[in-house]
């Protein structure tokens, strides 16, 4: 089943690539997503039941942590796939594109390649989440970079090319460092490896079990490289610089996937390192480094969200912010970790929703600047309502799920007796709320632009996926199912809750 999970999107991608009729792509994408989600759900159910499924000789053996992110990636991909049906149709209808900023003409990447890369992207994320082998995980993350580069360059104009280049170079460097981290890791365990009977592929588990035997200096160095490497991909400041560019230039559903799913997968890499450090008794150091990155990311996000005129970049920076919050929660440890897990879930749902909505806005207003968007509540009421709700959710105000998670993380900070950290955390969150509110309300409120027709019915496929996500986040704010909470706590237990 795990193998199917991995190979379903792969094969689908290959089929699309080879026999790329438009209908195949557009219908195949949701079908693939559905199948993948079904399989992922089954896997999650088994893991939740406490079984430990393993295939390919243990190369694919998800633990709760990985399964959590697997489910996230799968669900987000499902919504994005349905959104893509509408999106690709629109793109085809437009045909000849002109760049919004410099009005240069451009064409799109062939649809077949786009959808195929989407599938490959999903496959690589699946690999990342369900393998317990650091190397395989590394391969997966590298694969996500290479496949998503194509996606970012969907609109073939200068800016997207620039964004793609930055994404490619920065992330490749990061990944290279992560690889070095892996090497140093196995050096650290070299002396312990000697006593190792059989070459099992469940590396993480083995590392965690024998972390005490490892050579601490190498372990520290390894963690530093892993943190910086995967942190680059995860978008922790000051390594985040590719993120706003890529997110602002990519098609909205790609930004949604990057921000909602990919960042979590990258974080998984960091978490593995943190896991090993914790069991090696070096949790203090790794936690400290995580807190450092978290605080820095929050600051950076605050700096760039205040007075941000480009609403997709604003969303991207808010992703930086939330990655920072996750890093903080995990670094603080204790009760905050389960809060961080919940936060990861809620943030992915919310951010995916917001990016999809930003796609709608872009299609209606043809501008990136929130100064030029006015009176959305008259021109596109549903999107406007969801956009406002999404803003409140992402700013962490009740009754949305992010409030609960941020509350738990804050509680964890107090429990860890870090008053100044928690004060800074709240202050930065407040600043970010103010910054976001200015831009979002500017777009939603006001009179309808005179040159714009009054509201017509918005296509269902463009608002339903975000609506579903929004409802999910709202539900998580008011009612968190028991099994889900147990799952989160089990996942958190792996990283030191």
């Amino acid at each position: 089943m795990l193998t199917a999970l991995l190979f379903l999107p792969l094969c689908a991608g290959c089929i699309m690539l080879l026999w790329g009729r438009a209908v195949v792509c557009r219908v195949g994408l949701p079908l693939t997503a559905l199948g993948h989600t079904a399989l992922a759900a089954m896997t999650a159910a088994r893991v939740a039941r406490g079984e430990a499924p393993a295939e390919l000789g243990g190369l694919l053996a998800p633990d709760p942590l990985g399964t959590l992110f697997l489910m996230l990636a799968s669900v987000l991909f499902l919504t994005a796939a349905f959104y893509a049906m509408h999106y690709l149709r629109e793109e085809e209808r437009i045909g000849e594109h002109t760049n919004i900023l410099d009005h240069g003409r451009f064409t799109n990447t062939p649809e077949r390649r786009f959808t195929a890369c989407l599938c490959f992207f999903l496959a690589s994320m699946t690999l990342v989440t369900i393998t317990p082998h650091m190397g395989a995980q590394w391969v997966g993350i590298e694969a996500t970079t290479l496949s998503s580069a194509q996606l970012i360059y969907f609109h073939r104009h200068k800016r997207s090319l620039e964004a793609t280049w930055k994404y490619l170079i920065i992330c490749s460097v990061g990944i290279a460092l992560a690889l070095l981290g892996n090497i140093l890791l196995s050096v650290a365990f070299h002396s312990a490896e000697a006593g190792r009977a059989t070459e099992s592929l469940d590396q993480v588990g083995w590392f965690v079990r024998n972390a005490r035997l490892a050579e601490p200096t190498w372990l520290k160095a390894a963690f530093v490289f892993l943190l910086v490497g995967y942190g680059t991909k995860m978008g922790l400041a000051p390594l985040h610089n590719w993120l706003p560019d890529a997110h602002s230039q990519a098609p909205s559903l790609v930004s949604a996937l990057l921000s909602g799913a990919l960042l979590n997968c990258a974080m998984l890499g960091v978490l593995r390192g943190h896991q090993i450090m914790l069991s090696a008794g070096l949790g203090g150091l790794s936690g400290g480094m995580l807190i450092f990155f978290g605080l820095l990311s929050l600051m950076t996000a605050a700096i760039f969200i205040v007075g941000q005129g480009h609403y997709k970049r604003m969303l991207a920076y808010s992703s930086v912010e939330h990655m920072g919050i996750l890093a903080l929660g995990i670094g603080v440890g204790g009760a905050a970790v389960s809060g961080a897990m919940l936060h990861a879930v809620c943030h992915s749902l919310t951010k995916c929703m917001l990016f999809l909505l930003s796609g709608n806005i872009l299609a209606r207003y043809h501008t990136y600047s929130s100064y030029d968007v006015r009176g959305m509540r008259w021109t596109m009421p549903v999107t406007a309502a969801l956009w406002t709700a999404g803003f409140l959710a992402v700013a962490g105000s009740p009754p949305f799920g992010l409030f609960i998670s941020e509350l738990l993380i804050f509680k964890g900070m107090l429990a860890a007796d870090r008053p100044w950290l928690s004060a800074a955390y709240l202050t930065l969150l407040a600043i970010i709320f103010v910054g976001l509110s200015v831009a979002v309300l500017r777009m939603v409120q006001g009179n309808r632009p005179v040159d714009m027709a009054p509201a017509k019915r918005e296509p269902a496929l463009s608002v339903l996926p975000p609506l579903v996500l929004g409802l999910a986040v709202l539900t998580l704010g008011l009612w968190i199912p028991h099994w889900l909470w147990n799952f989160l706590t089990r996942a958190a237990a792996l990283v030191g809750a």
């Binding site: 290479l146 090319l161 490619l168 070095l180 200096t217």
Partner: protein
């Protein structure tokens, strides 16, 4: 044996500084090829003949030729870097070497795993690659820098093969190949649409 190894490592360090000191892209390409050869030789010395062949093939021949093809398609004036950056680059390389030797002192060596000087050399190569990316503002030099950095990491991975974990190197080779391939494509697009590969012009996306 050991002397051969040491001299290889020395040559590698030397090539790093040459890389940092070379202003012109063709020279850089040749030097990367040379590093590939060195790595292959190094593997031969540590008698991993098969992998040595693979390295020779990919790092020594394939990637340089790929770069070569790319730079042939570029306008000649796109291949020179300002010299001031070069000088700074060499200084930074020195600093990088010192830092990696400091690290070498800090890290407690598992006995018999690392030959002397291999760790600093690897780290130094890695940092030199990064410095190359930072210091040069041409897209293609950034690819070369990335390649050099990967060489460093590869070098650090070599001793582990004796410990039996081969997948690092294979994955690395594969990855490097694909990455450079994709980057080559990207460079072509860049040179087509920007009529230059000067990444310092990539400043339309900023705050």
């Amino acid at each position: 044996m050991a002397t051969l190894l040491q001299s290889c490592l020395f040559l590698l360090v030397l090539s790093n500084f040459l890389l940092l000191g070379t202003p012109r892209v063709p020279g850089l390409t040749r030097l990367t090829a040379f590093q590939g050869l060195l790595l292959a030789a190094l593997l031969l010395i540590l008698d991993h003949a098969l992998l040595a062949g693979a390295v020779l093939l990919i790092k020594g021949a394939l990637l340089p030729s790929l770069l070569w093809r790319t730079q042939k398609r570029l306008p000649p004036d796109a291949l020179i870097c300002p010299t001031r950056r070069v000088g700074l680059g060499v200084l930074a390389g020195m600093a990088a070497l010192v830092f990696s030797i400091w690290l070498d002192g800090k890290l407690v060596m598992p006995q018999g795993l690392f030959p002397p000087m291999l760790l600093p050399t690897g780290l130094g190569t890695l940092f030199c690659g990064l410095i190359l990316i930072v210091g040069r503002i041409k897209a293609i030099t950034q690819v070369i820098g990335y390649l050099v950095a990967e060489n460093g990491i590869f070098l650090l991975g070599v001793p582990l093969m004796t410990a039996g974990t081969v997948w690092f190197e294979l994955a690395l080779l594969l990855d490097v190949f694909v990455a450079v391939f994709v980057m080559g494509i990207a460079i072509n697009h860049i040179s087509d649409s920007f009529a230059s590969i000067d990444v310092a012009r990539f400043r339309s996306l900023r705050d």
